[in-house]
Amino acid sequence: MNEGEGGVGVVVVGHGMTASQLLAAGQAIVGPGALDDVVAVDAGVGQTPELVAALARTIAAVDRGSGVLLMVDLLGASPCTCGLREGSGRRLALISGLNLAMLLKLASLDRSRMSPTELAAACADSALRAVSVRAAEEMR
């Protein structure tokens, strides 16, 4: 790890305006602090030169030497493939299936002490547990 360089940078990417809206919701829940330096990139309807440029710029900006966690909504879709391409050559881990649980978990993790892959694994664990099917009466 490159200690003391601010830890792993995080970019959240989603179709439409989902990335910025989901990040705003996460920040509102956890309050000031843990998610302040996370950057959202709204992908709109798909791959455009603007999206490519925004991802390249953002990934480069958040990488402080400890690598980057790329959080995307849909595996294999443009925000994902584009992000991976623009992040190639960096110490980058990908997590797909972006949801609020994942962001809340991220807020509780120490990004100066974990690698991008470790962060992705911890977030995935929480996100998977957050998907649950129960009959309403079981929730009472």
Partner: protein
């Protein structure tokens, strides 16, 4: 060196919105200020009260009764602070 102790208490969720995300965030943040392990039980489900998702998993509405259990050297202070927060409706009353 203080000895680890266990303190448990049943509390009722009193705020109209129940243990929703922002309330859970307050509970978890406060729990994490203490060294003790903190558990929350509703029915037969016990979760780690230092985990946001754990707390949310209990899906507590207003009127839900939960058991708060703190285990550690600062269990008494931890229990007192958390019970106070829950009884104050997470500052929403």
């Amino acid at each position: 060196m203080n000895k680890a102790q266990e303190v448990a208490e049943e509390v009722e969720i009193v705020n109209p919105l129940g243990l929703h995300a922002r309330a859970a965030s307050k509970l978890v943040s406060l729990a994490n200020k203490f060294q003790s392990d903190v558990f929350l039980t509703k029915g037969e489900t016990e979760v780690n009260a230092k985990s946001m998702l754990g707390v949310l998993m209990l899906a507590c509405a207003k009127g839900s009764k939960v058991r708060l259990r703190c285990v550690g050297v600062d269990a008494a202070a931890c229990n007192e602070a958390l019970v106070k927060l829950v009884r104050a409706g997470f500052g929403e009353l």
